[in-house]
């Protein structure tokens, strides 16, 4: 596991619990300072196993989801793991504290594919609409601690 920064033991335990899945092939956890450090993304890219996703796509996935967690979610700590099941690769972000309820609206708008309007008048962010083009599905869990991106290989 790659660990970036200093994470409180209780938060680390919660993140480790979110990693409790078979078929994991990459895990990382980051504190708030690491989320604001550009090199964190570069270090994940260097260590992430090759062959699961294009590096450029992984960069966008990390940059957009980390931006969402720190800019809109006030994340204090973030776990990230990737696992493969059959022909699907799942990228999962576990956030402390949980995301705000507005994430559901943001994802609904992104699913409607309003990219053209976004790029013309910037009425909403471009991050999730772009990610919708890169992955098969983006979901959250019920308590909004997890943001999951499903990539069909």
């Amino acid at each position: 596991m790659q660990k970036f920064g200093v994470i409180k033991p209780a938060e680390e335990n919660m993140i480790r619990e979110s990693f409790a899945h078979p078929d994991l092939f990459y895990t990382a956890m980051m504190d708030r300072e690491a989320l604001w450090t550009p090199q964190t993304i570069e270090k994940i890219l260097e260590n992430f196993p090759k062959g699961y996703i294009e590096e450029g796509d992984l960069f966008l996935l990390l940059a957009e989801c980390i931006a969402n967690s720190v800019l809109h979610g006030q994340a204090e700590a973030l776990g990230f793991h990737a696992r493969e099941r059959h022909d699907v690769v799942l990228f999962s972000f576990f956030q402390i504290p949980p995301m705000k309820p507005s994430i559901k609206t943001v994802l609904t708008i992104a699913r409607e594919g309003r990219l053209r309007e976004c790029s013309e008048d910037l009425s909403s962010g471009l991050g999730f609409p772009i990610l919708m083009h890169l992955v098969h599905r983006i979901t959250t869990n019920n308590n909004l601690t997890k943001l999951q991106l499903w990539l069909r290989r």
């Binding site: 550009p38 450029g56 931006a67 800019l71 990219l115 910037l122 962010g125 471009l126 772009i130």
Partner: protein
Amino acid sequence: MPFKFKREKTELAVYVSGVLTFHQHKEGEQLVHQITSLVDTGEVTAVRINFSEVLRMDSHWLGVLIRILRRVKEKNAVFIIEKPNKDICRLFDIVELNRIAEIRP
């Protein structure tokens, strides 16, 4: 994430480099301010942004580009993006940036 400006009469060339993410949001604001100030006064009638030294870019910087583009167009000035790499071209393709901006390989 440095950027360099070159002026030739009323044309402004901007050279950006590195990895452009939300982490450099202050630099993005600074770039928007610097370019739009020159365009607003009429000193500059064409803006070329050179991407040859940019490795990667996220949606935050796409927003920065679109903000600059909109202001440049409002002033009837020319806006050109030059030499983006393969990954950045893909990002531009996803948002169909070529509909509203001239992109030169």
